[in-house]
Symmetry: C2
Subunit: 258 residues, 2 copies
DNA sequence: CGCTATGTTGAGGGAGATCAAAGACTGTGG
DNA sequence: CCACAGTCTTTGATCTCCCTCAACATAGCG
């Protein structure tokens, strides 16, 4: 299983078969993708999945540090993460930046661009990644043909809204330990859903990025990690995390949105 | 203009013609609504607006303090605010609550329910209000008939995502003065769009509610209002706000998402 | 006329920010 | 192979913004 293998490799570099940003040629088929049940086709029947197949124009590599799209750019595609991890961020006029999303394989990006036809955030690869581009105009055409497919698109957008609600809750009313624990538990859950170990993983973000995501400073992130380690909840070695007592972490901090 | 009259009345009570929560009878027609250009029908042609007319099952009063829907309840309707103001909130298992939205006339509520078929937040009327209920199942049927209509639904959902991005930016990287100023400027802009004065208005939320929305305590909200007043930016008398120098407020604090 | 809800203001404390320094690791170039 | 710069992380010391606790004022309401 390539996914598990990738997880086992501690480096963040994976072989880049094509030049930066280039398409890899043939269109990727959703119907044969191992992320089928997590991604856009989830809940769709075979015929609908084939419709998606016809419009997914291609797979593309995006290398670590590169952007997939930037705030203000014209919106044309919705993107599905096929491998690797992305962050998305918004920025203020004075340069302050805030990370507002962390996207893993099977998750969609770029939905915020539909509102005005321009992207409202910037998507940056946190490691070497692979993404599928879905032309929004064609998605609309196809979903006009299938009520089910259209419901799925709505559902995925709604899911994004719900996700942001949770983040607002986190930013608005949790302390540093609660924020970091919630973040780690959420990560753990999503990794498990992808067949990775929920207890041991590599963070793809720096302390500063985690801080930006959680509304705290990098030093506070670092100190909170140290505190968790001293409490015997996890072992932390830079970006390598091993959660030793996930139940305790849950009990102490997991306050799921009611 | 009834809207302007309502704005001029300092009390939050408006006459309730029907019993609490009751439908007022005949279906409301979008085609003749004065909020037509702000609300769901914006950007739709006459035929499409008539389709919406056919499914908007009715107008309903919701009195101050009452909830329109609650977290966890089955999702069936999307709601459009026809008059008055709503807050929406999410809560943690331990009872902490966070206000994650403030909805004015012409704005939609309940989109977060599409994801799982249950509402992810609670909507509470901040004053006596009137809302239109749009059955989601029928909305889907109708929007299957019109690509344009479906695009509009997507756009409205995307707008909600963008709105939440801004809130996350606010919660994640602004100080108390910036938060309150951003909040007031946003309110001012939305009131202007509805034909109200952008400089003088009544807040519909208590200090505690504003605090919950902006991720700060009620005392801090109160102190920040006092600070703005001492800086000559506005006059504050409980919930009545008169912004005397909106440009200064903009210059000092408005840091629009890049 | 109390009673409750709401808002303002003060005093003090604390969680996290800021400033600073040092160690670990990576990649680069000699 | 090693010296070096640059990045990331950790930890300490100090500071500050906002929270907490408290008292008081005001308005609406039974």
């Amino acid at each position: 299983m390539p996914a598990a293998a990738e997880n086992a490799i501690p480096t963040i570099r994976i072989a880049a078969a094509a030049p930066v940003g280039a398409r890899t040629g043939a269109a990727t088929r959703c119907s044969s993708c191992h992320l089928r049940d997590l991604c856009l086709p989830s809940g769709m029947n075979d015929a609908e999945t084939e419709w998606i197949d016809r419009m997914t124009i291609g797979r593309r590599h995006v290398n670590a540090g590169q952007t997939l799209y930037r705030e203000g750019e014209r919106f044309q595609f919705i993107y599905a993460v096929r491998g690797g991890t992305f962050k998305s961020s918004v920025s203020l006029a004075d340069g302050r930046e805030h990370i507002c999303g962390l996207h893993m394989s099977g998750e969609l990006m770029g939905l915020d661009g539909i509102a005005n036809g321009t992207h409202a955030s910037t998507a940056t690869a946190l490691e070497d990644t692979e993404i599928c581009s879905i032309p929004y105009a064609r998605l609309n055409e196809e979903s006009g043909r299938s009520a089910n497919m259209q419901r799925m698109v709505n559902r995925l957008m709604s899911r994004e809204i719900v996700r942001e609600h949770s983040l607002m809750m986190l930013l608005g009313s949790m302390n540093a330990e609660e924020r970091l624990a919630t973040f780690l538990l959420n990560l753990s859950k999503r990794l498990r859903a992808r067949g990775y170990s929920p207890n041991e993983f590599h963070l793809r973000m720096s302390r500063a990025e985690i801080g930006s995501y959680l509304g705290m400073k990098l030093e506070t992130v670092s100190r909170t990690f140290s505190a968790f380690q001293q409490q015997g909840l996890m072992e932390v070695d830079k970006r390598h995390i091993r959660i030793t007592d996930i139940d305790a972490l849950q009990r102490a901090f997991d306050a799921p949105v009611h």
